[in-house]
Amino acid sequence: MTIQKLSRQSANATTTGRKQRKPSRGATRNRPNHLPQIVLVGLLSIGGLAMVLPFVWMVTTSLSRQSNSAMPRTPTFWPPDPSLFNYEVAATSLPIERFYLNSLIVVGLTTVGYLFCSALTGYAFAKGRFPGKSFFFIAFLSTLLLPFETRMIPLYDLMSTLNWNNTYWALIMPFLAGGFGTFLMRQHISNLPDELIHAARLDGASEFRIFLQLVLPLCKPALAALAIINIIWRWNDLLWPLLVTSERDMYTVTQGLAMAGRSTGIHTGVALATATMAVLPVMIIYVILQRQIIQGIAMSGMKG
């Protein structure tokens, strides 16, 4: 997960820089005939339908009680017997609201901590002057070469030693500091004018106050992009929660869903109702924030 970050960053240094100059070539090119447009949109819509249909099918199947016993050979996109029966079964057999609470706490605290740590080190490496700066910076960068999968077993042992298994600590603490965030924030803060920070120092502000009240507010776009990537990454992670949480009350949404799907004898309708409850809220947030999310991903080249 970490190893690809550097190369993603370097690719986008070249792509996004030029993008700014010519934002919309497709729109400015003149094509008088309308037929190709219709054909293009038509073909792309067929592809788009293929993207959406599995989700629609998931929702309609989850709304049908008889999908648990017999499914039609020809797929239908309207439940023959609409009812919330499957949702009631799923909600009583699984503490899905507890999964959501866990995910919100874990992802929220991890993201706040990760943004804070990244901005802190990014500021020090961009504007600070202290002995050993390049050593520390190279140390932060080289952690990008260490994939999470390589360290997960000793990390699990460490969690056991600390008695952190089945606690939020285990899900949060290992993900607070990282090379990628430091690198991204350093790039961004380097572009802030030095005069601004000097002026604040003249006014007698401490470095920490400059960081909190001057630098952080100026970093909002970079912080937003970093937050989006981190939220997607942490929300969707399965491997680490699988290792450190075994009690059902500590499951995240992703882990709870995976465990429900793996449990033997789960009925189709109930499984898809569970999936709908795990997917739909995320989708609604995505549709509301789609511009920021797509921009954040295109800007950093990371998909979380």
Partner: protein
């Protein structure tokens, strides 16, 4: 945030006065330096504790064998030699590479074509982008769970459509453990393409927009057809984007875990056809509890990722040189 921008004339004396005010003696300068360690050291400590030390420990454990409770013995390269002779390890490695290659071979041409089309759409491009990106944002676990039913041989969505199209000899998808790229492997490859397409299209679109517009203008003057323009200008201009996507796609493919685990469990059923290298690591380390053997797999995994990184750097560096000369 209304700090007046000082004009160059009065900036100079002010800054030097400030410098004097800040560095009041040795102690002031010392404090100005040490404060940065307060910024860097706490995150650095976290990094050492949760990243560096565990990674180092993996490398140590790969060379030991557990001989009893809390007892271990240095065995040199035995663990690695052991890996080389176990079919399960090679199966998982070949599986991971095979699934990765199949995924990239499908998704890159498809995303190249779709992004070229999307780039010409004048109205509704944003909505289409949002739709294509939808599965990417859904967790791989949720996608896998949905597709567990989409791939159901008798009444699943996919075979249902194949029936409508008049195909009666439908594949069994996940229920078919046949070797090669049919059955379960074809199913998880389709799943990966479906869910990864949006990201590839997004990066391709950014790449298309980085191609100099003058090239298109001169091609239009020469009377080139859209297909010719795409073949001779867009495609060569996308070379760096394609290299980038192949490399990052390879990293993700090597680390594939969530969707395959949801569909096949730690052993990658049916018949281990879906076991990736990370799943094997999980199974050996946390189901069979052979920490040292799992550490050896982790070391091999690290070496593969490092080689991929070096190849990626070389590809990017050679590109930079070409751009400069």
């Amino acid at each position: 945030m209304t700090i007046p921008k000082p004009s160059p004339a009065d900036a100079r004396p002010r800054v030097s006065a400030g410098r004097r005010a800040i560095r009041t003696g040795v102690f002031g300068g010392f404090r100005r330096t040490t404060v940065w360690y307060a910024f860097v050291l706490p995150p650095f400590a976290l990094l050492v504790l949760f990243v560096c030390l565990p990674t180092a420990q993996t490398f140590v454990e790969g060379f030991y064998r557990e001989t009893g409770p809390d007892q271990r013995q240095f065995v040199g390269l035995d663990q690695f030699a052991n890996l080389g002779t176990t079919g399960v390890f090679w199966d998982a490695l070949i599986n991971t590479v095979l699934l990765g290659v199949a995924f990239l071979a499908l998704v890159i041409p498809l995303a190249a074509i779709l992004s070229a089309m999307l780039n010409h759409v004048r109205r509704g491009a944003t909505a289409l982008k949002v739709i294509y990106f939808l599965p990417q944002l859904t967790s791989s676990v949720a996608v896998a769970l949905i597709f567990l039913y989409v791939f159901q041989p008798d009444w699943g969505l996919l075979n249902g459509f194949l029936h409508i199209l008049g195909i009666d000899d439908v594949p069994l998808w996940l229920a078919d453990p046949s070797f090669g790229l049919t059955g379960s492997r074809a199913a998880v490859t389709l799943l990966a393409v479906w869910s990864g397409l949006g990201y590839f299209i997004l990066i391709f679109l950014a790449g298309i927009q980085s191609i100099p517009v003058e090239l298109y203008e001169s091609a239009a003057v020469d009377g080139a057809t859209p297909l010719q323009i795409w073949r001779h200008i867009t495609l060569p201009g996308l070379r760096p984007t394609i290299i980038f996507l192949v490399m990052t796609g390879s990293f993700d493919a090597m680390a594939r875990f969530g969707d395959l685990w949801t569909l096949g469990g730690p052993s990658g059923s049916p018949a281990r056809t879906l076991q990736s290298i990370v799943m094997l690591m999980y199974q050996v380390g946390f189901v069979s509890h052979d920490t040292n053997q799992a550490a050896a797999i982790a070391v091999v995994f690290f070496v593969i990722m490092l080689v991929l990184t070096v190849v990626a750097y070389r590809a990017f560096l050679s590109r930079e040189f070409k751009a400069r000369s």
